[in-house]
């Protein structure tokens, strides 16, 4: 009895959008080589998510597929290439949510999990909680079979220099243009 004005239903659609950070960017500092590097990395992530959707896969799988290569790519502030804390460590946060039932999972301040987005998803599916943090989250990760990733995996020279610059300028974390890393 619901409103309809002709017989043709809309075709099933899929759609995906990704981001790799936002901030104040200097166009002059973006060399063609650097730009190509970023565009290739974004396209790789987009293609990974797109492939899942195009073959009829789920939105949840597509989101994870798109984020994984960005967590592995030192260009982005996530996973490998994450920025440094004041103490010189890399602490990672992630969250994921399923629009079907609004189930959600999140982790904060983990240091040894290679792909925090996957741990967030396991928090969603295998725990009664929404967010786990720090050592507890890592303990949960170990119980769920996540390998312990050494800190060297996450640390990059560029991010280390950014922290050193910040400290040299005696800036607090909130004073610097931290976006984009």
């Amino acid at each position: 009895a619901l409103a309809q004005d002709d017989a043709s239903p809309p075709e099933p659609k899929w759609s995906i959008a990704i981001h790799g950070g936002a901030g104040t960017l200097n166009r002059d500092a973006m060399t063609p080589e650097r730009r190509a590097e970023y565009e290739a990395a974004l396209q790789e992530a987009l293609d990974a998510g797109r492939a899942v959707l195009a073959r009829g896969g789920s939105a949840m799988d597509a989101v994870k597929a798109a984020i994984l290569p960005m967590e592995d790519n030192p260009l982005f502030n996530a996973g490998r290439g994450a920025v440094f804390t004041w103490e010189g460590t890399n602490e990672l946060d992630a969250s994921i949510m399923d629009g079907r039932d609004r189930s959600a999972g999140a982790v904060a301040g983990v240091k040894t999990v290679k792909h925090p987005i996957l741990l967030a998803d396991v928090v969603r599916t295998e725990s009664p909680h929404v967010m786990l943090m720090g050592e507890g989250a890592e303990e949960f990760a170990a119980e769920q079979g996540f390998a312990v990733t050494p800190p060297e995996w996450f640390a990059t020279e560029a991010r280390k220099r950014a922290l050193e610059r910040m400290k040299a300028n005696k800036l607090s974390a909130l004073d610097v243009d931290h976006k984009f890393g």
Binding site: I16, A22, V63, A94, K179
Partner: protein, 199 residues
């Protein structure tokens, strides 16, 4: 920070965000990325959102949930109006929140009472176009709210109708989108969404 939002062919939405936080963070600082409702949110009745930017402001605005809530309410109104325009005001009341199964059992609609996927053809198209405009407006308005407080950054979102939308108040956002309609593009600075499209 990185993130992704997606709509699959079953009409389901999902959102995810992952980050290293901010350079030089201390005292166990946590931003918006792992906070459901601030940096990430997904609801089949509205949209899926992932955010990036100055987390303290995104937390205060509840950015991802705020965008979803605005869109959910507007989508409800679109469907309600569409029904009324087609002279089915009486059946709106009947189908308002529930429907009767032949067995007598009361069933709730899976995606809420107002779902434009129940429309077909032109009615669907009209409603979908409205949703796109409203989604962009909602994202822009919430980002303007963030800016008013002093924060900056951006969001990505997808709607149940398949729109992939960006909004940011910084000079750039590393971003990309692809749809079953043939969109496939990546971009960095503002106003160049199609400049970097690759096959």
């Amino acid at each position: 920070t990185v993130g992704a939002v997606a709509l699959d062919m079953e009409g389901n939405l999902a959102a995810g965000t992952s980050t290293g936080g901010m350079t030089g963070k201390r005292w166990g600082r946590v931003g918006d990325a792992p906070v459901i409702g601030a940096g990430t949110y997904a609801d089949n009745r509205a949209c899926a959102v992932s955010a990036t930017g100055w987390g303290e402001y995104f937390l205060r605005v509840g950015v991802a949930h705020e965008i979803c809530t605005r869109l959910r309410m507007e989508r409800d109104a679109i469907v309600r109006n569409q029904r009324l325009m087609q002279g089915l005001a009486l059946s709106v009341a009947a189908a308002d929140l529930k429907e009767q199964h032949p067995s007598g059992e009361v069933l709730h609609h899976e995606y809420g009472p107002y779902d434009i996927r129940q429309f077909k053809g032109k009615a669907w198209q009209t409603a979908a176009q409205k949703v796109e405009r409203i989604a962009q407006k909602a994202a822009d308005a919430v980002m303007a709210d963030v800016a008013e407080l002093g924060g900056d950054g951006g969001v990505i979102l997808v709607t149940p109708e398949g729109h992939a939308i960006f909004s940011f108040n910084t000079s750039g956002m590393y971003r990309g989108r692809a749809t079953s309609e043939g969109v496939n593009e990546v971009a960095i600075f503002g106003g160049e969404d199609k400049a970097s499209a690759t096959p």
